[in-house]
């Protein structure tokens, strides 16, 4: 790891000014992506601004069906929150299956969204739940937030402070984990709210997380696993790598969608 200068921020405003003062600073949340990247010398920030102690980026609130989650909430904290489980168990179950117990004790919602790994779980949930990503300067709809592989709408120095969404009537997430890395080979989050089904897919798209609109239309007509039997997805729009080619992943999207629809809760 290259040399760096470490700072601790007690709140969002402090983090923003520390970042602005740094030559080439980067936020350090749970470090479960950034530290391995720095160890591999693929990132070399001049300064690290540790936001793990930022008190105004924490907490989960559930008010009837309005949910907010602070960016610094760890995967383990999200998984263990009883209020969230009562209203959106699909999201709790998703958090409980990210990585392994030690990763879940440090990795955070904000870090996962900012990183937008094409195989990460949370981006699919946020897109399907029609969530709003809240930053220190503005609110961004999930539909506009994820812009490509490891790319987001975040500006230089912009800090995610949390997310908010309306809990859907029903939702489910089904993940087909890569047997070695446990990241999603394909993960499908289906939620059914007042405006109908929203289906978001991670791990499979060539451009990262995406909404499967053909599948949404089919499910709008009939909310049943077999409703998507005749939908065909373009294999060329899918990731193709040594773990599975485009046709394999296109099929996996349908299989995981069917399982999610059958598991709607």
């Amino acid at each position: 790891m290259y040399e760096t200068t470490y700072h601790k921020a007690g709140n969002v405003a402090e983090a923003a000014s520390l970042l602005a003062a740094a030559e080439d600073g980067q936020l350090l949340a749970g470090g479960q992506t950034l530290i391995p990247t720095m160890k591999a010398r693929l990132a070399a920030p001049s300064d690290l601004v540790d936001i793990s102690g930022a008190s105004d980026m924490r907490g989960i609130t559930v008010n009837v069906s309005a949910v907010t989650i602070g960016a610094m909430m760890t995967h383990a904290e999200v998984a263990a929150n009883a209020d969230l489980f009562a209203i959106c168990p699909a999201l709790s179950n998703l958090a409980a299956r990210i990585g392994d117990p030690a990763v879940r004790n440090r990795g955070t919602l904000g870090g996962s969204l900012a990183n937008n790994d094409p195989a990460a779980d949370y981006p699919a949930a946020m897109l399907s739940l029609d969530a709003t990503v809240v930053t220190n300067t503005r609110e961004i709809a999930a539909d506009a937030f994820f812009t490509g592989l490891f790319e987001t709408a975040l500006a230089e120095g912009e800090i995610i402070t949390g997310v908010s969404f309306t809990a859907p009537g029903k939702a489910a997430y089904q993940k087909f984990p890569n047997p070695a890395s446990r990241y999603a080979m394909c993960g499908v989050f289906v939620s059914v709210g007042p405006s109908g089904p929203r289906v978001a897919v991670t791990g499979a798209g060539a451009d990262g997380v995406f909404r499967a609109t053909e599948i949404e239309t089919a499910l709008q007509a009939k909310l049943d696993p077999h409703a998507i039997d005749k939908v065909s997805l373009d294999a060329k729009a899918m990731l193709s790598d040594l773990h599975g080619d485009g046709a394999y992943r296109a099929n996996l999207v349908k299989v995981m969608t069917k399982r999610a629809v059958a598991a709607l809760d």
């Binding site: 470490y6 470090g31 030690a102 004790n105």
Partner: protein
């Protein structure tokens, strides 16, 4: 260089370290607590697992400065006059071969048993295998590790 202080295995420690020092390097190189191992560069093997404020964390994926002010427990800190029940169970059930992964396995085992007890959940074989997702062993084939944790769970 920055001053860091924390409590390791019950003792207060402090040192001036480079900001980029990983917690595992602080434990091994500065405190000479070499029971915590480094088995990979990719945060996947769990040989470096320690408890920070009672939670399982990979000490290779955390800066020592981020652990400032915390209570850290390493494999050297789990035994009293006798071995910890988890260590004894690994011994009795042949839960190790080369022993490289064992410190992480024991720390992970203690964490899962404590957590499941606190939540009133049953730690059966399937749950142990799921909880061990972040600990890799190249020798044992896991069967005896699972058996060891299962036996210790009854005694903790």
């Amino acid at each position: 260089m920055t001053e860091v202080s924390m409590t390791v295995n019950g003792s207060a420690v402090s040192a001036k370290i480079e900001d980029r020092t990983l917690l595992v390097d602080f434990l091994r190189d500065h405190l000479k607590l070499t029971g915590t191992h480094v088995g990979c560069d990719t945060s996947q093997c769990g040989a470096c697992l320690v408890h920070v404020n009672g939670q399982a964390m990979k000490s290779c994926t955390m800066l020592a400065l981020s652990a400032g002010g915390t209570r850290v427990t390493t494999i050297e800190g789990v035994a009293g006059d006798d071995l910890h029940p988890m260590q004894k169970a690994f011994n009795d059930n042949h839960g190790l071969q080369c022993g490289f992964c064992t410190p992480g396995m024991v720390m992970s085992g203690i964490d899962m048993v404590t957590r499941y007890k606190a939540e009133g959940k049953t730690l059966d074989e399937a749950a142990i295998r799921h909880e061990l997702e972040g600990n890799i062993c190249r020798c044992t084939g896991y069967h005896n590790i699972v058996k060891s944790i299962q036996e210790a769970a009854g005694k903790m």
